[in-house]
């Protein structure tokens, strides 16, 4: 054995705090989640696309001198040029402006549907999960029966009998769309309500509303956000689907769905009329999907080491 100086064998002054110090920097929950999200390249691509989309939705329609509704039959079906960047449609309207107007409408519908689903779903699922017992059973039974109605069929039926328009579309989408959110929220609440900090809050005398809003909901934020993010592309898809069936927003409003359905039959001759709205539908759905996936993966506790 090497020669070790004797004085090293004196007791070391033990710093108590040193022992308790957790030597890995502790990240707050959300910081950890965002760090992991940022590592997901696909999700970041989605975020970039989304930002571009929103910017264009805001500024796009103002970028040239055309508006979305002025018709000009002499100018109909012109291919993209330096004047009409995306070409014109059969009524001579500028496709570029209409596309970004359509972005506004589609994004609006998607967001509105997601928010309404959120509100109804959170209230329904939160109350059902928290109350438990007979209330829970009843509320979930109702939800199950409603869920049994085929979604798209119901939407179509409603669109047939009600006046066509954005409001009706949102109504039709949210009438059963909230059920998924309600189930997720309920699941979370059921898991969380037996956690100790809830019991602690209850012993301190907090009332139901406070417990719900200060404890249960914030801690369910993860799955709630993921569900919302994935509702939007579904809504956009449904909108385009309905428009294709002729049940979409009314003329002369431009939604991507109506533009696509008008552009479809003319695809062979005037491909740009389908190309732009269709591509944007795909890109938007894609972006929201990868963002939602990225969020879901980032939140997954099993992947955290």
């Amino acid at each position: 054995m090497q020669n070790i100086p004797k004085e090293l064998f004196t007791p070391a002054t033990l710093n108590e705090n040193e022992a308790e110090k957790i030597s890995k920097p502790s990240l707050s929950f959300w910081k950890d989640v965002t760090t992991r999200f940022k590592k997901n390249k696909l999700a970041l691509v989605g975020v970039v696309l989304l930002i571009l989309l929103v910017l264009m939705a805001i500024f796009g329609p103002m970028m040239n001198e055309f508006d979305y509704r002025t018709t000009n039959l002499a100018n109909a079906n012109k291919a993209p040029s330096s004047v009409h960047w995306f070409g014109t449609d059969e009524l001579g309207r500028d496709v570029f402006t209409r596309t970004w107007e359509g972005a506004r409408i589609s994004l609006f519908i998607g967001l509105a549907a997601a928010v309404i689903d959120l509100i109804i779903g959170v209230l329904w699922g939160g109350i059902s999960g928290y109350m438990g017992g007979k209330v829970d059973e009843f509320m979930m039974r109702v939800a199950d029966i409603l869920y049994g109605v085929p979604y798209l069929l119901l939407v179509i039926l409603l669109m047939v009998i009600l006046e066509q328009g954005i409001g009706t579309m949102i109504l039709a989408m949210t009438i059963t769309g909230w059920i998924n959110m309600a189930r997720i929220v309920r699941g979370q609440v059921l898991q969380l309500k037996y956690q100790e900090y809830v019991l602690a809050a209850q012993t301190l005398g907090a009332d139901v509303k406070r417990i719900m809003f200060k404890h249960l909901i914030p801690n369910s934020m993860g799955p709630i956000l993921v569900t919302m993010t994935l509702t939007i592309p579904n809504a956009i898809f449904t909108e385009s689907f309905l428009s294709y069936l002729g049940l979409g927003v009314q003329v002369p409003l431009a939604s991507w769905g109506t533009m696509a359905s008008e552009g479809l039959p003319a695809f062979e001759y005037y491909p740009w009329r389908l190309f732009f709205p269709a591509t944007l539908i795909c890109i938007t759905i894609f972006a929201f999907n990868v963002i939602g996936d990225g969020m879901r993966d980032a939140l997954d506790p099993r992947l955290r080491k």
Binding site: S240, F267, L274, I281, I285
Partner: protein, 311 residues
């Protein structure tokens, strides 16, 4: 098991009555009557027509008549195609849609599962990434856009497949692919995440500790357990294929039930709308029931009365 099926059938009946009722009253709420869009019909003829179709009777009577008729599998006459009944329209269109639908389901399951399994086994390697990118695109591209693109490239430009109509097996391929694309992508992702979840389970470690070969573990332990959520998905899958058929049949000019349904919507042919809606609902409810029964056979933990087998 028999008790379970009985219980489910009763629930189904209940749901169906609700759906028929809802559909009936919804159609009543729609603006205009079935003859409003026709050319000028003199009032006496209109009255005669109304009497003929029983439309002058009080509402509740009409309702019960309809309920009775549906129970006898009579969906009434079409208001637009004067010589045809709704039943005939369904009988003409459904077999075609059924064939297309089953073809699409098979494609979706076969390719979706294979893609998902490969992605999971090569987790985080290039096979995983490419499979998942394909899947995301499958979900992001609505089926009717894909249908148009496929039609354009493979039928019009490359002339490999026929463009439209339903005349030979070759005619079925493009529409089936377009119809299957989104479900296939979904199944791929579902299979993948299910596989990954199973692979993280302890019993896979046990299987390895027994010295079983990797292939045997994958097939006998991993895939078998991973398939459970996929089987559950087959209910929503059927619904998706069904609604997808509306647009696909239209684009490819296929005279299936979906196409008829879309036409009846455009024409506001209310009896057809009601009849097909009820028919579809029955179809979906039955398929969900079948899937649940199938699942009960596959997963030994599930006792079909609704309770899980206890310890």
């Amino acid at each position: 098991m028999a008790k379970y099926i009985m219980k489910r059938l009763i629930y189904m009946l209940f749901s169906l009555i609700m759906i028929v009722t809802a559909t009936f009253f919804l159609m009543q709420a729609a603006p205009g009557g079935p003859f409003t869009s026709e050319k000028d019909v003199p009032p006496e003829i209109e009255a005669a027509l109304n009497a003929h179709y029983g439309l002058d009777q009080p509402l509740y009577k009409q309702y019960f008549n309809y309920l009775y008729d549906v129970a006898r599998w009579d969906f009434g006459p079409s208001f637009k195609y004067k010589a045809m009944t709704v039943n005939e329209i369904i009988n003409n269109g459904f077999p075609i849609s059924l064939f297309l639908g089953i073809e699409a389901i098979l494609i979706a399951i076969a390719f979706g599962v294979v893609l998902g399994v490969i992605a999971a086994l090569y987790h985080n390697k290039w096979q995983d990434y490419s499979a998942m990118i394909i899947a995301v695109f499958g979900i992001s591209v609505p089926s009717f856009i894909l249908a148009t693109v496929l039609q354009y490239i493979f039928a019009i430009k490359l002339d490999i497949f026929p463009v439209a109509r339903w005349e030979s097996f070759m005619h079925t391929i493009l529409p089936a692919i377009a119809l299957a694309s989104s479900p296939m992508a979904f199944i791929a992702r579902l299979t993948r995440s299910s596989m990954l979840e199973v692979l993280s389970n302890d019993y896979i470690k046990t299987a390895r500790a027994k010295g079983l070969a990797q292939g045997a573990i994958t097939v006998k332990h991993t895939i078998r357990n991973a398939m459970l959520p996929v089987v559950s998905y087959m209910g929503p899958l059927t619904a998706g294929i069904l609604t997808g058929s509306f647009v696909i049949e239209k684009i490819f000019g296929i005279p299936g039930l979906g196409d008829e349904f879309v036409t009846s919507i455009t024409n506001r042919d209310y009896t057809v709308i009601m009849g097909v809606t009820v028919f579809y609902s029955i179809l979906l409810l039955v398929s969900v029931l079948l899937v649940d029964i199938l699942y009960g056979f596959i997963d030994p933990r599930i006792k079909l009365s609704g309770a899980k087998k206890g310890e």
